[in-house]
Amino acid sequence: MGVTVNGVEHVRDVEPRLLLVHLLRDELRLTGTHWGCDTSNCGACIVWMDGLPVKSCTVLAVMADGRSVRTVEDLEGPFGLDQVQQSFMDCHGLQCGFCTPGMLMTARKLLDDNPDPTDTEIRQAISGQICRCTGYRNIVAAIRHAADAEAVGRGDT
């Protein structure tokens, strides 16, 4: 199979039963994507496939054959951290960091689609994800902060 991950094409010979999360972590050594509940409930394993967030513990690696995958490692750009990463740091949006890669990937997608979400929309966007330490308030605040910072960057405000 061949899959483009963060813009780089990888060709691997894999068993059909290998899950995408394990291809990313164990074969490609991209351990930024976390592996938690294994039952599509916690969202630690969220990556983008063909531009949409998916839970990679419930996608077979072979199902990504010919598709493009984006993981948390791709958020940082040539000019530093992505705004959502920076805002999670600034707003204390993480403690242990276990849920953070998944939170960042859905946050990035939300703001790409909807640059000025309401708090309710933010809460809905992360409703399939579980954080066991920070509490959701700071995560929501971090995403709000990122939206505001990007609006300033665009000159919207």
């Binding site: 039963r17 969220i46 419930t58 996608v59 077979l60 199902m63 409703s127 399939g128």
Partner: protein, 294 residues
């Protein structure tokens, strides 16, 4: 770590290709669409297919359109696409009511309409939605297409009218100008499966009398996801609170819930009645008396 048993994998290139593969490999072959029911079952080894036929490249299976007086929803349409579809919401708000409370946004990016109804889990929200809408399933096998009314589609938990060498192609919902529709669900937390849920579709004449009604129930043990007794009671009556209460009582009486970690039987029976009332009330509020003056 949960690992599925060994299986082979093929990416289908056409619907005909799917049918050929299913025919050749027999009942040990399974279609995989979003995989959000099948892969968890394979990880738990509750399902051990020998061949998975991946239909995700078959774009002819996705999409939502209105044609020949029907809303047509391709089997591979994702939950998120149905939720975002203006044409679906305009004709049948029940579809958006339900999609808003099915799983979470990330699961909805992947899970499909066809996978949901073919899974036929007793708690599947769309089952009760499509029975209340009197939708029709289009199923394709080697002999061509055949249609199955959704009210005859479910043959018991995890069993449907789709035969081993067949594929569900699309769902068709007959348009009902002026009808109102709604779906209400009680769950324990955001994104969870229903404790109980009810859907209603109501058509009214100019005097507010119910001319046709569909009531679907989810997670309360009705094998066909339909509250026929409640429907019979309502047809021909003025759509008011007394009529809704009678329909709710009939729905509660005739459902067959089982106790599980989501609640005891009497609680679920109570919900079946109360949610039927609320769905009917909401659907009626959205209906136009006498249909649209078209």
């Amino acid at each position: 770590m949960q690992v599925p048993a060994f299986f082979e994998y093929q990416r289908a290139t056409s619907v005909e290709h799917v049918v050929t593969l299913l025919e050749r490999f027999g009942p040990e072959a399974r279609i995989v669409a979003g995989g959000h029911s099948l892969i968890p079952m394979m990880k738990l080894r509750l399902a051990q297919p020998e061949l998975l036929v991946d239909v995700n490249d078959l774009h002819e299976l996705s999409g939502i359109s209105v044609s020949e007086g029907e809303l047509r929803i391709g089997a591979l349409t994702r939950h998120a696409e149905l939720l975002a579809s203006p044409v679906a919401g305009e004709h049948f708000p029940i579809l958006h009511d339900a999609e808003r409370v099915i799983a979470d946004p990330v699961v909805r990016n992947r899970g499909t309409i066809g996978g949901s109804v073919c899974q036929a889990d007793p708690s599947e929200d769309l089952s009760g939605v499509f029975t209340s809408l009197r939708a029709v399933a289009v199923v394709r096998g080697t002999g061509g297409d055949r249609t199955v009314p959704m009210r005859e589609f479910f043959h018991g938990p995890y069993e449907t009218a789709v035969r081993p060498a067949e594929i569900l192609v699309e769902l068709r919902v007959p348009l009902r100008p002026g009808a109102g529709s709604a779906y209400v669900k009680v769950d324990r937390r955001a994104g969870d499966w229903a404790v109980a849920a009810a859907g209603a579709v109501v058509s009214l004449d100019a005097d507010g009398v119910v001319t046709e009604v569909g009531i679907g129930l989810t997670a309360v043990g009705d094998a066909d996801f339909t509250a026929v007794e409640a429907e019979d009671l309502l047809r021909g009556r003025v759509a008011d609170d007394d009529a809704f209460a009678a329909a709710g009582a009939a729905a509660a009486e005739h459902c067959r819930p089982t106790a599980d970690q989501r609640g005891p039987v009497d609680y679920k029976r109570h919900l079946a009645g109360e949610l039927t009332v609320r769905a009917l009330r909401a659907a009626t509020a959205r209906a136009h008396r006498g249909g649209f003056p078209e």
